[in-house]
């Protein structure tokens, strides 16, 4: 919202030594955020009034003229100009050489320099309104029209801002910070607030005399819960003419476009008081005015040309026949002020916030009026707005006459009352306050306060009674903000030494993440909780137990994830464009439409939510990727204080390849799976030319241990001996069998897989497995006979039990 300082000053005597910086700072600290302070005269800086003395044709250009212009200097300046409305005696705006001018009133100032135009020197520039950002105040009717300000009778050479009365400062207020202060949505309200901040005098808002008779105007409020008050005045002898410059300029400088005099008056009233008003053409209103909800199938064409299909929950202003305005939002096109309007009905009404907001939202229309009503305006404000409006119509249309008046007020608003113990304020503010101090602050804000036995009985003014003030804490805020939040010292809270915080679940989640990132070389990613259907399909997830969003980000993303696999697949797909091998993981919540339970309030039943961990390993060798992923899970308990994970084949995840998958076991139950993405799923997910192994486990089930559980093993007393073996086995022999067989040989302390080989040298249906064996003795150093004996024993067992063929044996 933009505010003009000159306008505010009409209502309040601000301290004389108050700087703009101070005002903006104080307002920001105490009330609302001032986002920007603009000096209007600065945007017209460098521009001066010029009086055209002569206009001659240019010898070498048809469209250019050579003018002599009095710009307040001893000698008139020669200026070459292409304006089509140049005339001797005319006053206009000139940029003189050396002047720094902001083109279109914005951006950095540019210096004007003398220049040769088609062979003739030109000392300066005559401006069009568009060139200096004033096109809305000085609309051009034809192209290449220069600004004509002859009617301003200004001295040549005087500054443009002075001549046009645009020496003003504009405050831009952050609308968000005004949400709960409907009283500040107008110049008068802001003046009232400033008067309270500086303790200075506020002028009362003007009064007007309105004849009591209603003429032929009758108002019927059919929905008083949505329209607590509706006042209307009819004026005859009104004309649709442009407003005088002064009025135009006032509404223009705070961001509204001047339209015509009757409409500009209604906008002025709103900008002054914060109370929206609207004018109807009386000749178009048949019979009485009804404030009612719309009927099924009713339509309304708005001022902006949009045609609405109304619903029974929309409030409209209607005549005997049909709706003529969308209440509190926008007028109808056919019945508002028109070119030939001569008699108008001026509406000054109060609509409740919720109804206006709902309708505005449904039709996605935000107007100056709706944004004010949505904040909840008090019905009492109608009085002030009515007075300002009536006085303005009388002033600007001296021949006008009030022909009717109605003021229906079925639902008066009571002023809010709050009781606050003085001790409460002192305690919560950490400062001893006297009743006098508090009463003075509240009085400046328009609150009436009575004290009885240390308790303040506070009555809020009407403009603070629409919901903003209702609790002792609200009064505390009023007092504290006007005392200035900066004037309260930082009091560090007293520290009580308690037992150390031990949150194992919280720590476990963190150590899982850190283990994966720092030890396993995996990068953490985040994906959205809504899942794209394409990836749900690729993951072969059952959609029956998936929750959905009512208004999803897109139709393809309506389901909430029940697994992290779809997100992983998408993460893999996304990154394959730039990388061919990588490892990623995500740890977060998944949802299922089942197992509803309460965690606080028994009435609240929340669906199943569990934290899952998923990872992806991308590369070229599926067996290796699988082993890498398995290794990460296998060793997790070493970094994370938990029991070790196991592996078994029980149920294949649907997205997994037939040959490479395992279920992950914990406490003898499956808690997830690991597997290579099947060709089918990879195709569906758009994953090409790469192998991906995924895993997903339910982290919620993992139980954090109090501490580490691994034990120290004594170092061997005598040196151990390692030797490697390569054995050719049939494909169906598994490592588990090899391991078990090898481990049983005498003195074997460790059996470690090295690698496996398939191919010609191994033979069809065969593989060569290499592994390293460590043998240790507790009785003495192993001699070569002993080592040879064990090696022979090992080879024999491999051959006898598993059909293994040892190379070179």
């Amino acid at each position: 919202m933009k505010l003009s300082l000159n306008w505010i000053k009409k209502y309040v005597d601000l301290p004389e030594d108050l700087t703009m910086e101070k005002l903006a700072y104080d307002l920001t600290m105490c009330t609302v955020e001032v986002e920007e302070v603009t000096d209007l005269s600065e945007s017209l800086g460098g521009l001066a009034v010029g009086k055209i003395i002569t206009v001659e044709p240019h010898p070498d250009a048809d469209k250019l003229r050579i003018c002599t212009v009095d710009v307040g200097d001893m000698v008139p300046s020669t200026i070459v100009c292409g304006g089509i409305n140049l005339a001797p005696g005319q006053l206009t705006i000139v940029g003189k050489p050396g002047a720094m001018v902001r083109w279109h009133g914005a951006g950095d100032p540019v210096e004007i320099k003398p220049a040769k135009l088609r062979g003739v020197m030109s000392y300066g520039m005559i401006c069009s309104s568009g060139e200096i950002g004033l096109e809305e105040l000085f609309p051009v009717s034809r192209e290449a029209e220069i600004m004509d300000i002859t009617e301003f009778a200004a001295e040549p050479g005087s500054s443009a801002a002075d001549a046009l009365g645009l020496n003003d400062i504009i405050l831009e207020i952050d609308n968000k910070s005004l949400t709960n202060r409907p009283d500040l949505w107008g110049h008068y309200g802001m003046a009232r607030e400033l008067a309270a901040i500086y303790g200075c005098r506020l002028m009362p808002l003007e009064k007007a005399s309105i004849p009591e008779y209603s003429g032929d105007l009758s108002v019927v409020i059919e929905a008083p819960d949505r329209c607590p008050r509706y006042a209307a005045v009819t004026f005859k002898n009104i004309k649709n003419i442009p407003s005088p410059f002064e009025l135009k300029s006032m509404i223009w400088r705070v961001g509204m476009r001047p339209i015509n005099l009757p409409v500009d008056i209604t906008n002025y009233v709103m900008l002054a008081t914060g109370q929206p008003t609207h004018g109807f053409d009386k000749n178009h209103i048949k019979g009485s005015i009804h404030i009612r909800t719309a009927r099924e199938d009713e339509k309304l064409e708005l001022l902006d040309g949009e045609i609405l299909d109304l619903t029974v929950s929309d409030l409209v202003i209607a005549d005997e026949k049909s709706p003529v305005a969308l209440a509190g939002i926008m007028g109808g096109k056919l019945d508002s002020i028109l070119d030939d309007t001569e008699e108008i009905i001026l509406e000054v009404a109060n609509f409740t916030a919720m109804g206006v907001r709902r309708t505005a939202q449904r039709f996605d229309i935000r107007t100056e009026a709706s944004s004010r009503f949505e904040k909840s305006i008090e019905p009492q404000r109608v009085d002030g707005a009515l007075a300002v409006a009536v006085n303005m119509f009388k002033e600007y249309f001296p021949e006008s006459e009030i022909t009717g008046f109605a003021d229906e007020y079925p639902l008066p608003l009571k002023n809010s009352e709050v009781e606050v113990p003085l001790s409460f304020l002192s305690r919560r503010l950490g400062k001893d306050l006297t009743a006098e101090e508090v009463i003075m602050i509240l009085d400046n804000l328009g609150f009436k306060t009575a004290v009885k036995e240390g308790i303040l009985h506070v009555t809020a003014p009407s403009w603070r009674s629409t919901g903003d003030i209702s609790l002792p804490d609200d009064i505390l805020e009023e007092v504290a903000r006007l005392m200035g939040y900066e004037n309260f010292d930082l009091i560090p809270p007293a520290v009580i030494l308690e037992k150390p915080i031990n949150q194992r679940t919280v720590e476990m989640e963190r150590s899982i993440r850190e283990y994966l990132a720092f030890r396993c070389g995996m990068q953490e990613i985040f994906t959205y909780p809504w899942t794209e259907d394409e990836y749900i399909e690729a993951s072969c997830l059952d959609t029956k137990e998936m929750l959905s969003l009512s208004t999803p980000p897109s139709p393809e993303e309506s389901r909430l994830r029940s697994s992290l696999i779809p997100g992983m697949m998408k993460g893999v797909f996304t990154n394959l464009r730039y990388f061919d091998s990588f490892r990623i993981f995500e740890l977060t919540q998944v949802f299922a439409d089942k197992n509803y339970h309460s965690i606080n309030d028994p009435a609240e039943k929340l669906p199943e939510m569990a934290r899952h961990l998923a990872g992806a390993f991308v590369g070229t060798d599926p067996r290796l990727l699988f082993r890498q992923a398995k290794g990460v899970l296998e060793h997790m308990h070493r970094a994370v204080h938990m029991e070790a994970l196991g592996f078994e084949q029980m149920t294949k995840p649907q997205w997994a390849d037939d040959k490479l998958w395992l279920n992950v076991m914990y406490d003898e139950k499956p808690i997830g799976s690991i597997g290579l993405i099947s060709l089918k799923s990879a195709r569906r997910a758009g994953i090409k030319r790469s192998m991906t192994v995924l895993f997903e486990i339910d982290v919620e089930i993992l139980h954090p241990l109090a501490s580490r559980q691994n034990r120290y093993t004594r170092l061997p007393e005598y040196p151990c001996v390692d030797f490697d073996l390569s054995v050719v086995f049939d494909e169906k022999v598994t490592w588990a069998e090899i391991y078990e067989t090898a481990s049983k040989v005498e003195l074997v302390r460790e059996v470690r897989f090295i690698d496996e080989y398939r191919g010609q040298q191994a033979g069809e249906g065969k593989k060569s497995v290499s592994f390293r064996i460590r043998i240790c003795s507790d009785e003495g150093t192993l001699n070569s006979e002993k080592i040879e004996m064990i090696t022979r024993q090992m080879i024999k067992k491999m051959s006898k039990k598993l059909g293994g063929d040892v190379r070179g044996a």
């Binding site: 910070s177 804490d473 993440r513 990068q523 309030d601």
Partner: protein
Amino acid sequence: MFEEIKEHGMEKLAESGLLERLEKLKKAGMEKISETSLPHDLQTVRANLLGRKGEVTEVLKSVGQAAPELRKVLGQAANEVKDILSQAIEQRNEELINSTSSFEGAADITLPGTDFTAGGLHPITQMCYDLNDAFRSLGFEVFSEPEITSELYAFDNLNFAPEHPARESMDTYWLKGHDEERGAKRLCLRPHLTGASVRYLQKHGAPARFVYPGRVFRNETTDARHERAFFQYEALIVDKDFSFASGKVLVKTILDKIFGTDVEVRMRVGFFPFVEPGFEIDMRCLVCGGEGCKVCKHVGWIEVMPGGTPHPNVLRAAGLDPAVWSGFYINIGLDRLVMMRYGVDDVRLFHSADLRFLNQFK
């Protein structure tokens, strides 16, 4: 010594030629030693001169066959040459070790270092853990609530008016099938973290100090500054008659941790349904030091977080008597903080899973 021998006038000695041979060996040996440039070659030189079959050793051996009167002189002379050469080799060896590389050939030290295969935490997780560490050192617990909550916890408990626009589906992601429900029965993806504060207080009572970071969801049109899923960090202290002025401690903990320096803050009026009084908290612009610059829109202050005293209705919902208990909330957008910390210009990158982005925070 040769002079001495000459003095003895022993022609025989001269005739034997051994002395000359020694003289030559010494000269040639010394030359060879000084020419050798690798420690390895020096060993060969040593073997050739002084080894078992070395030339000097041969001379020494032949001393025995010389005339008995000459043996002593010859022996002395040969040993002297041996010592001299041996010392020279030793000395040369020292020199070579001091000046020679362990390997042959040239090396390009401008080649890049080898990459390490570490992964990394998401930059938001990193920021969150940094803050957790700071708050836990002040005795705060870390709490979290599930991402699906109800209207009761998301709005009703937090003093949002029944018609508050945040409740509309334009703002909040409601779950399908709950459109007709209200309160505890109407479920949504949590639109903010504050609901969790009531859950914690209901279970743990007061006094309390805890943080509850997490992801929240808003139905929004996305662009470089707006996301539908984003992260917040919220902290709450509840204590007896806790003055809002003490709330500055929370603010300073966060900002000092993030920026690693003492950050000046100010609190000004702000409005949020669940706090009374409510604040917007600004920090002194670190770019210009408060002089005014583009970053702070020329005001010298940057709005960083909202905060305030829990509204009495919120405390009541948490089962606490607002006449006794009071406190202070702060809530900060983690996405924005991370963006400020690293100069990230598009909030949507956080949920992109794009490793080109994420790899930068390892």
